[in-house]
């Protein structure tokens, strides 16, 4: 008897789940949004949800002329959970477009599923380089950025404008850290700079002192790439450690979602990103004002990212007259898009499905009682390939711990 109970139990539980509804009904567009609402990425995920929701609210809950029904899947920042949730959104909720996720690991895990089920997907945040470089998918359009897209200009800026000649780097010891630092090292060394040491810290590092003590003191600047609470810890401990070399970082480190919590330790840090909430343009001012009115706080790049992602979905779908029956045609339409009025500035998409967009060099300053990423220089229309030809760029391996090789390591 107990065999029966044990074997039938799963079926009973399965049947008591939410009722299934037929997909692709009428004129309603079902959008499956994948965000890590729980887990270690929950804080930035809130901004993702808000940005997307704000765009929908401003446009009468319509995208491309169709009423929208949004289904949210919580990935918890875990690739396996993300896949299960994607299955749910597509197979149970009948989503005909996927939107998200946040983490590169989840984004990479979804690629085969998206290809197999021919579901067009918009990636507004995931920045893993190869998704639009060496391992592209015909069903994915990225409206965000690649990890090295913002740091290639930063390396150039550090050498030419800040006139740094010798730097050391410290960053996350996984793909995001390697690729963002790799972009910096590539252009900085090519311009003539020297990288004396690269320090890599595990993703879960809270205590940076063993790593901070490894940083050589005879450098013009220290280059960093962190995000979230790790960035808060890094900046505070860097200052507490008494290190005085200027900091030059990838822009996630001073994202508006954590900047206030970082406090004075972040003042003076120069960063690069394709967005700043302090960007002084009419489009951004309107966006920031609407966002603040709706949610009571300043948007971060995560919020602007999903806002622009929804904008791209809206306009791509409008170009198809709301027709999603041919996913590849829809993706092609998306890749032909040009968005002149995004909060971050004008965007066009390259043939690999990645934006060509401005990269802003920002400095953290105290303005009107709050910290802000004040834009001090703009690199207009930056491609993920920087100034290289795509074929030339793609002939090199993806940026990693060992590529490009650091030209001054072991020399000091």
């Amino acid at each position: 008897m107990r065999w029966v109970v044990a074997l039938i139990l799963p079926l009973l539980i399965g049947a008591s789940g939410p009722a299934w509804s037929a997909s692709g009904a009428g004129g309603t567009l079902r959008v499956g949004v994948l965000i890590p609402e729980t887990g270690y990425l929950a804080a930035p995920a809130r901004f993702m949800r808000e940005g997307y929701m704000l765009y929908l609210a401003q446009h009468g809950n319509k995208l491309g002329g169709r009423d929208v029904q949004t289904f949210i899947g919580d990935t918890a920042g875990n690739p396996s959970t993300g896949l299960t949730q994607a299955r749910r959104l597509v197979e149970q909720d009948g989503a005909s477009v996927l939107f998200g996720p946040l983490s590169a690991a989840v984004g990479s895990a979804l690629v085969p599923y998206i290809g197999e089920h021919k579901v067009p997907a918009i990636y507004p945040i995931v920045s893993a380089d190869d998704l639009t470089q060496r391992r592209t998918s015909p069903y994915i359009v990225r409206t965000g950025w690649t990890s090295s897209q913002t740091t290639q200009p930063l390396g150039d800026y550090a050498y030419k404008t800040l006139r740094y000649r010798r730097v050391a780097t410290i960053a996350y010891d996984f793909e995001f850290g390697w690729q963002s630092i790799g972009g910096f090292v590539q252009t900085f060394q090519q311009d003539g700079g020297t990288v004396l040491k690269e320090t890599w810290t595990p993703q879960t590092t809270n205590d940076f002192s063993p790593y901070l003590s490894q940083i050589p003191r005879n450098v013009d600047a220290v280059v960093c790439s962190f995000s979230g609470s790790t960035a808060i810890n890094f900046f505070r401990q860097y200052k507490a450690f008494g290190l005085t070399m200027p900091l030059v970082c990838q822009g996630n480190a001073t994202d508006e979602s954590t900047l206030a919590a970082t406090g004075p330790a972040a003042i003076g840090v120069v960063t690069a990103l394709h967005y700043s909430a302090a960007l002084d343009t009419p489009a951004n001012k309107a966006f920031v004002a609407a966002y603040q009115k709706a949610y009571g706080h300043v948007p971060s790049y995560y919020a602007e990212g999903t806002y622009v992602g929804a904008m791209a979905l809206d306009r791509g779908l409008a170009a198809m007259h709301g027709d999603l029956s041919d996913p590849l045609a829809f993706v092609r339409a998306l890749r032909r898009l040009s968005i002149p009025d995004a909060p971050r500035g004008a965007i066009t998409l390259d043939s690999y499905g990645n934006p060509v967009e401005n990269v802003y060099i920002r400095r953290v300053e105290q303005t009107g009682g709050a910290l802000a990423n004040v834009v001090i220089h703009t690199y207009p229309g930056v491609s993920q390939f920087w100034t290289y030809r795509p074929q030339q760029f793609l002939a090199h391996p993806v940026y990693s711990r060992t590529y490009p090789p650091c030209n001054g390591c072991g020399a000091h």
């Binding site: 008897m1 107990r2 065999w3 029966v4 109970v5 044990a6 074997l7 039938i8 139990l9 799963p10 079926l11 539980i13 399965g14 008591s16 789940g17 939410p18 299934w20 609402e37 729980t38 919580d74 918890a76 875990n78 690739p79 396996s80 896949l83 299960t84 949730q85 299955r87 749910r88 197979e91 149970q92 590169a104 690991a105 990479s108 895990a109 690629v111 085969p112 599923y113 197999e116 893993a128 391992r135 010891d173 996984f174 793909e175 995001f176 993703q203 990693s400 711990r401």
Partner: protein, 339 residues
């Protein structure tokens, strides 16, 4: 008792047939894939039960074995172009067995808490390797880009086909594990669990039996890992993280330690409840935690124990209600410590 045995076999066969028929019942694909996930984690949980329930060893290294065989499938397919099912399965399980043979030597130097901590540390080493050895493992982004190969000429790319394949694998593993725990070897394991000193005094090589159980459990967990790699067509460090190890242990405890079928039910509850709840509320982890605590407080012997109690109540009700002269089934004795 033979009547009861026949009933058992018949009901098990009926349940298996019903499970096999699930894809034709018109259930949405999503539930079929959740059931597939249940069978896979069921295998992992049952094999851990061989250690926890029958040998008295609580191991956190199961995720390492689960993940290693999953990674082997992915690495063989993407880097060595070895996609055929049986050779890949053989190499994956062989590697897992070798790893378990090594880990067993190290971990079994300790007992009790020491054993637990060593398995935990060993699991973290494998996780770190998967996370850092990017040229092989793809690092944080894991490995995608391999597909389910045909087995016996059957195309497994569809949800229903892979569901049936996984169910068949589950039944085979269940039969093998049941045979193991009922064999003289299994009896010795129980002796090792309950009275290791007495068993040693009787001349049994206690450590050797523990070692054998450790490796056997790892291989069965490896089967689950292989299936999971094919199920997701993706592997990542999370598949061998401590989270996975803990999750499988929860399935075992939730379902009922030392019952084999209990952990399978535990797997079903964890897979379905976590997915159903996460659709309804952002606080699903809190609710799931409350369910675990409630079961551990009020039903120490897990779901199987609850099942037994329900049977007993039903049996008593039937006895009280009807004048039926038929003898009522005696209540099954409860889990551990039975004579």
């Amino acid at each position: 008792m033979t009547g009861r045995r026949a009933l058992l076999v018949a009901s098990a066969a009926a349940a298996a047939a019903l499970a096999a028929a699930v894809p034709s019942l018109g259930l949405p694909q999503y539930y079929i894939s959740l059931l597939t996930q249940t069978w896979i984690f069921g295998i992992a949980a049952m094999s851990l039960d061989l250690l926890v329930g029958f040998t008295g060893l609580v191991s956190f290294a199961q995720a390492a074995f689960f993940g290693t065989s999953a990674y082997m499938i992915a690495v063989l397919a993407t880097q060595y172009h070895l996609v055929a099912f049986w050779p890949a399965l053989g190499i994956a399980l062989g590697t897992t067995a070798a790893l378990a043979a090594l880990f067993g030597l190290l971990a079994l130097r300790g007992e009790g808490v020491t054993f637990i901590i060593i398995t935990l540390a060993l699991n973290e080493i494998v996780w770190g390797l998967a996370y850092q050895w990017v040229s092989v493992s793809g690092g944080d982004n894991g490995i995608a880009g391999f597909i389910r190969p045909p087995v016996f000429g059957l195309d497994l790319s569809g949800t229903a086909a892979f569901y049936r394949f996984t169910l068949a694998a589950l039944l085979v593993c269940l039969a093998l594990l049941a045979a193991i725990v009922r064999s003289p070897f299994g009896l010795v394991l129980r002796g090792v669990r309950d009275r290791p000193r007495r068993m040693a005094a009787l001349g049994y090589a206690v450590q050797a039996f523990r070692y054998a159980a450790f490796v056997i459990a790892a291989v069965f967990t490896g089967v689950a890992g292989v299936l999971f790699a094919y199920y997701n067509e993706f592997v990542g460090p999370v598949n061998l993280s401590l989270d996975t190890a803990v999750q499988v242990l929860i399935m075992v405890i939730l379902g009922g330690v030392g019952t084999l079928l209990g952990p399978l039910a535990g797997a079903a509850v964890v897979v379905f409840v976590s997915n159903a709840l996460s659709n309804l509320t952002q606080r699903w982890e809190l609710i799931l935690g409350a369910i675990y605590v409630a079961i551990l407080l009020f039903a120490r012997d897990g779901l199987v124990g609850i099942g037994h109690r329900v049977m007993r109540v039903l049996g008593a009700a039937a006895r009280g209600a009807g004048p039926a002269a038929r003898p009522v089934m005696s209540p099954p004795p409860g889990g551990r410590g039975e004579p």
